[in-house]
């Protein structure tokens, strides 16, 4: 609840229009979030006015326009340097409950791009569905929650934003009400999510009990000297890790992920495994650097949290990759691979050493990896959405020979698989390369080595898909491939192009990410 403080604010030099005549008012820094919220409400209004429309093209367009607006705004702000130290530092709103800086804008951009792909693809996935209006508004509002999560800098806003993401996600996963898989997934997601958000909020309450504030900056100040309450704060931090682990599908709260990604409608799986995961990492990055002294000289409550994350990262990536290697269904394989990638991204929190010179580089590389992952993983799940729509089947065998009937999409899928595995010509290679390199420079050889070994293993199961698509002989089931869903195709191709275009465009991405992450440690 934030009544705005009568502002005694610094000059607004940090906003983009500084180059123009009049600077934008400060609240416009929230523009991307507001664009998503406005799109969500507009979707509801549209559905109110035309509740019985059978077509969902208009809804899809509204949602896409909203998310593209959010993407454009965040891109513009990023380009203009909003919230960077060079332009006056981070912009704080609502009594510091919200901070707009490079990190927030970067992750907002990831979320907005994934949302765009997902809503466009959903037009064909949900065609002839009865009530598509709620689907789109839930997706866009959840995206708004994710963008808010990336900018939240008070534990209160973090929890509210987290629930803003979770609650629509539960409904989205169980969206196919007649489909037992979808319902089962929704139930599991909801139950595990409810338990972990209860654990998370209890953790917040313990941190609050120890520090007396919910603002990250105050928490950081209080963590310097906790006295007897160090234990309380420590337990609280661990419980908060559980909450982040739930959002990012990391050990020990990853159990929901395989079932949910498998059972949910494929666009929702794409949305959750890319955008939701990225938002979870955004908030974890911010909380641990700003409040819990990760990478600082002070070790909060006597624990080197980086080491904790290192252990979690190793366990997460190993578990995800090993389990993915033995799956028979492509979607479930991708679900486990998503856990594996959460492990890679965790390196951004793990390979941090106190006062390390490359802390910003590692975390920035992790952010860049999440960026690339946003495209390649969303694309892969959308390909599966297309296959689901054709009704081809779910296992590797069912995918045999898809390359003969849908060559364009199969090329795109090949790009996604090789990029996910980290083969050189694609975006996934660079992000992984920078990530491992950063870890090495910060002295975490073993972490990079485990990551590299896992990548070797991952190549095995990703190449199974490629092999099935291109090399194996087509089966009769492919007769079902009768249509060319335009929007879905478009989204898959755009994602593939983005995965490849990241190759020459990787410079700006990694630079932005590293600058944003370095500012956190500054």
């Amino acid at each position: 609840m934030s009544v705005q403080q009568p502002s005694t604010v610094e000059p607004l030099a940090a906003l983009p229009a500084q180059t123009g005549a009049a600077p934008l008012p400060e609240w416009t820094a929230l523009g991307p979030v507001l664009a998503l919220v406005a799109a969500g409400l507009l979707l509801l209004l549209w559905d109110t006015v035309f509740p019985n429309r059978r077509t969902n093209t208009e809804l899809s367009v509204i949602a896409a326009v909203g998310s593209l607006a959010a993407l454009a705004l965040s891109g513009w702000y990023l380009a203009a340097g909003t919230g960077r130290p060079a332009t006056g530092g981070a912009i704080t709103l609502f009594a510091e409950a919200i901070t707009i800086d490079g990190l927030a804008l970067f992750f907002t951009a990831i979320v907005a791009s994934v949302t765009t792909l997902v809503v466009v693809a959903s037009r064909d996935y949900l065609t002839d569905h009865e009530t598509p209006g709620e689907f789109y508004s839930l997706v866009v509002l959840a995206a708004a929650g994710m963008a808010l999560l990336a900018s939240a800098s008070s534990l209160a806003t973090i929890f509210v934003a987290l629930e803003m993401v979770s609650l629509p996600s539960y409904a989205l996963v169980a969206y196919l009400k007649e489909n037992r898989g979808s319902v089962e997934a929704g139930l599991k997601y909801f139950l595990v999510g409810a338990v972990s958000s209860a654990i998370f909020v209890f953790g917040i309450s313990l941190v609050y009990a120890a520090t007396g504030s919910l603002l990250l900056s105050d928490v950081a100040a209080a963590f310097g000297d906790l006295g007897d309450l160090a234990g309380v704060a420590g337990v609280g931090v661990v419980m908060m890790i559980a909450g982040f682990a739930f959002k990012t599908a990391s050990v020990p709260v990853h159990f929901w992920a395989p079932e949910v990604y498998e059972g949910a409608p494929a666009p929702v799986s794409a949305f959750l495994s890319s955008a939701s995961k990225a938002a979870g990492f955004a908030v974890a990055f911010r909380v641990f650097t700003e409040a819990f002294h990760l990478g600082g000289e002070v070790t909060a409550v006597g624990i080197d949290w980086a080491l904790v994350f290192a252990v979690l990262a190793v366990v997460t990536m190993t578990l995800g990759n090993f389990a993915a290697a033995v799956q028979t269904e492509v979607k479930r394989m991708l679900a486990y691979s998503s856990i594996g990638h959460a492990g890679y991204a965790l390196i951004g929190l793990a390979a941090i050493s106190a006062g390390g010179s490359h802390n910003g580089a590692v975390m920035g590389a992790s952010m860049a990896h999440l960026f690339v992952y946003g495209f390649m993983n969303t694309g892969a799940f959308l390909f599966i959405a297309m296959v689901e729509r054709w009704g081809v089947g779910r296992t590797f065998e069912d995918y045999a020979g898809l390359g003969t009937v849908a060559p364009m999409a199969s090329v795109a899928m090949t790009v996604f698989m090789f990029s996910l595995a980290g083969l050189p010509p694609f975006g996934g290679f660079f992000s992984k390369y920078f990530l491992f390199a950063g870890a090495v420079f910060n002295g975490f050889w073993w972490l990079a080595a485990v990551g590299a070994l896992n990548s070797v293993l991952s190549l095995y199961y990703y190449s199974r898909v490629v092999k099935a698509i291109w090399i194996e002989d087509p089966t009769d089931a492919l007769a079902a491939v009768d249509s060319r869903p335009t929007a879905l195709y478009g989204a898959v191709i755009v994602a593939a192009v983005a995965t490849v275009v990241v190759l020459p465009g990787f410079g700006p991405v990694i630079e932005t990410a590293e600058a944003a992450a370095t500012a956190l440690f500054g």
């Binding site: 420590g234 661990v238 559980a242 079932e259 006597g302 389990a323 580089a361 390199a437 190759l503």
Partner: protein, 683 residues
């Protein structure tokens, strides 16, 4: 004047365009896109010749074409200093020579493929020619790379293409698994390479091969104390450079099929024979050796790495040669000989014989391409029968193939004056003169020398079984004729296999004292054009070795070395002649063991032969067992352990949501307990 170097990117781009064309329009083109590939590689070949001529006229070239990541100005950027990741080209004598070799072989393989693939009515030709184009383009990109990262990326592309081409006949059971094995085994090495690339960046902040800011030069300065290189854990610069060198060597060992990562290569024979020729002679396998030669200035700084390279090379040369003895299939014999010959090149590099290694790389490219294409011709003639025991007597039926194959075999066996003799002799000479002061190197030399008769033996066993004697099957009595597109490439390569040795007749020069006939030495020494830090005498100055001579001087050493290796080669040849150059070689061998009432001398000979055969067969089969059992066992074991443990891990996922809640609670509780104890929260 038009600058040849401006067209260097076109050398790489032309095969790539042919790849795209074959991929997109191959279906509509005559011959499945073959002519496009031939035209593209011919164009590349001509351009390469022009580049070679320009270098010969005193040119050299290094240029950054594209910078895709620059950490300029970012606080806390990766690495000790600012890093730029770039694509560029480096043209010096080495890469110019390699360009010509690769494009020539690629062109000939394209032509040959007309006979091997098109005339035989193989399906999916566009895919085949697209693969060949991409393969060639990747290798050329690798050759001209001016930095290690770019080299790594094209190295990986080469691996990917080999996967696609080895698995070309994917509908049969063998090729896909062979392709997978090739890909996985080489990638295993590549991961070391990748870590090595990162380490090079970390240490020097650059990965360029050439220039005063290149990493070999910086390493040289670092060892001299003039440059402060970053090292982990405060290691000594020399120790750390050794580690980095070994990491990168991992990639080279994988690609060049050196022990213990050689297992993929024999399996890779499952690919179409022209592809085997391309892989073995000019592209994939050569990539490893070329990589070591390319960054030789770095390797010569670390004696340990050099010794390891030499020893691995010598061991591989002998080990693979013994295994070649017992193979029944034509291409299998050639596969093991390839491993063995690349072992020689590694031996040369490790022994400080930079020129010798490049020399052998060149001659081997010619004669091994010749042998593979010859084998391809035989296979066409034999209606895709590869077992040598089913052949015999093809000499009269396939004269062109026979004579060219014979030239290649003589070169492979190292018989004077064929190309292989000169290069192999120079390798052994370098290893010997440097090894006289280095016991380890001397051991490597001894293994290399022992491999000489073995090589000659299996080579001529192959020749005799295939071409001599009486035809053993109906097919061999009436082979399928081959056309110009097979004979043409064979003839070109046959001539090269005979004469290529003349570019570097060092022994002649040393013995007779004629100056200026060691063209390759002068070439690689920057005599015509090139970079001063990439010349052979610069490497020799940096290198850890000094020369020693036997029998009182250089000339006797040259003569003795050449004489011994020639004698050994002839010995091996002679043994093969005795055993297999008869009408019915199999029966002859079988009879030896059973006949008791023969003359004493004969008895003695036969006994020796049988015993020798028994011993070598034992060694060979033991090596084979090791190969199949241990190496493959480890690879298979690791993958099955992974899969089994993956299966265990997924069993945790019971599908019951309350179990998840319980596990989640356990996990968080465990974390709290462990961290609480560590952090002293509960005190």
């Amino acid at each position: 004047m038009v600058d040849a170097f401006a067209y260097v990117p076109a050398i790489v781009a032309l095969p790539f365009v042919s790849f795209l064309v074959a991929l997109a329009f191959g279906k509509y083109l005559p011959k499945g896109g073959a002519f496009g590939g031939i035209a593209a590689t011919a164009g590349s070949f001509l351009l390469s010749l022009w580049v070679l001529a320009t270098v010969a006229a005193g040119g050299q070239h290094v240029e950054t074409l594209y910078t895709w990541v620059s950490t300029d100005g970012i606080a806390g950027g990766i690495g000790p200093q600012e890093i730029e990741l770039t694509f560029g080209v480096l043209i010096d004598p080495l890469s110019a020579l390699m360009l010509v070799i690769v494009t020539l072989i690629a062109m000939l393989v394209h032509v040959f493929s007309l006979g091997y693939m098109n005339d035989e009515g193989e399906p999916d030709l566009p895919r085949y020619y697209a693969g060949l184009g991409l393969f060639t383009a990747s290798m050329l990109g690798f050759v001209v790379a001016d930095n290690l990262l770019m080299a790594f990326m094209f190295f990986e592309l080469v691996g990917l293409c080999s996967y696609l081409l080895i698995g070309f006949h994917f509908r049969e059971p063998g090729p896909p698994s062979a392709a997978k094995k090739a890909f996985l085994v080489t990638r295993f090495g590549d991961y070391f390479f990748l870590v090595g690339v990162v380490a090079v960046f970390a240490t020097f902040g650059t990965a360029s091969f050439a220039g005063s800011e290149s990493f070999p030069v910086l390493a040289e300065h670092a060892l001299a104390g003039e440059f402060d290189a970053w090292t982990p854990f405060g290691l000594e610069a020399g120790t750390w450079f050794t580690a980095v060198g070994l990491l990168v060597l991992g990639g080279a060992i994988g690609k060049s099929a050196q022990f213990p990562l050689h297992t993929w290569l024999p399996d890779a024979m499952e690919g179409p024979t022209p592809v085997s020729a391309l892989i073995h002679a000019a592209t994939m396998v050569a990539a490893g050796v070329y990589l070591v030669a390319r960054m030789y200035g770095f390797y010569v700084l670390t004696p340990t790495t050099m010794a390891i390279i030499a020893f691995v090379g010598g061991f591989t040369a002998l080990f693979a040669a013994t295994m070649g003895l017992v193979k029944d299939e034509l291409k299998q014999v050639l596969a093991y000989s390839t491993i063995s010959q690349y072992g020689y090149m590694m031996l040369a590099l490790g022994a400080g014989g930079y020129v010798a290694a490049v020399f052998h790389l060149m001659t081997h490219a010619f004669f091994k391409a010749l042998l593979f294409l010859g084998a391809g011709a035989v296979i066409i003639a034999m209606h895709h029968e590869e077992n040598m025991w089913e052949m015999g007597g093809l000499k009269e039926k396939l004269p062109v193939t026979y004579w060219t194959f014979l030239a290649g075999s003589l070169a492979l066996a190292g018989i004077f004056p064929f190309a292989g003799f000169w290069s192999k002799d120079e390798i052994l000479y370098e290893a010997l003169v440097h090894g006289l002061n280095e016991p380890l190197l001397l051991g490597a030399w001894a293994m290399g020398l022992l491999a000489v008769p073995v090589t000659a033996f299996y080579t001529f066993r192959m020749v005799f079984l295939t071409f001599h004697g009486e035809p053993r099957t109906d097919v061999a009595r009436d082979p399928h004729p081959v056309r110009w597109n097979v004979k043409g490439p064979l003839t070109v390569l046959g001539v090269l296999a005979v004469v290529a040795g003349t570019v570097n007749m060092v022994p002649v020069q040393k013995v007779l004292g004629i100056e200026g006939i060691d063209l390759l030495h002068l070439w690689l020494d920057g005599h015509y054009g090139g970079f001063s830090e990439l010349t052979s005498h610069h490497y020799a100055e940096l290198g850890p070795y000094s020369s020693g001579y036997i029998a009182g001087g250089e000339v006797p050493t040259v003569l003795i070395g050449a004489g011994v290796s020639l004698a050994l080669a002839l010995g091996g040849l002679g043994l093969a002649w005795k055993l297999y150059n008869v009408a019915e070689p199999a029966e002859h061998t079988a009879a030896l063991g059973g006949v008791k009432t023969v003359l004493y001398n004969n008895y003695y000979q036969d006994e020796l032969q049988v015993r020798l055969a028994g011993v070598t067969a034992g060694v060979a089969s033991a090596a084979d067992t090791f190969d199949q059992g241990v190496i493959d066992g480890v690879v298979n074991g690791v993958s099955s352990v992974s899969l089994v443990s993956g299966d265990r891990i997924r069993r945790v996922q019971t599908g019951v949501v309350t179990h998840y809640a319980a596990l989640l609670t356990l996990g968080v509780t465990g974390l709290i307990l462990v961290l609480g104890v560590l952090g002293g929260w509960f005190l």
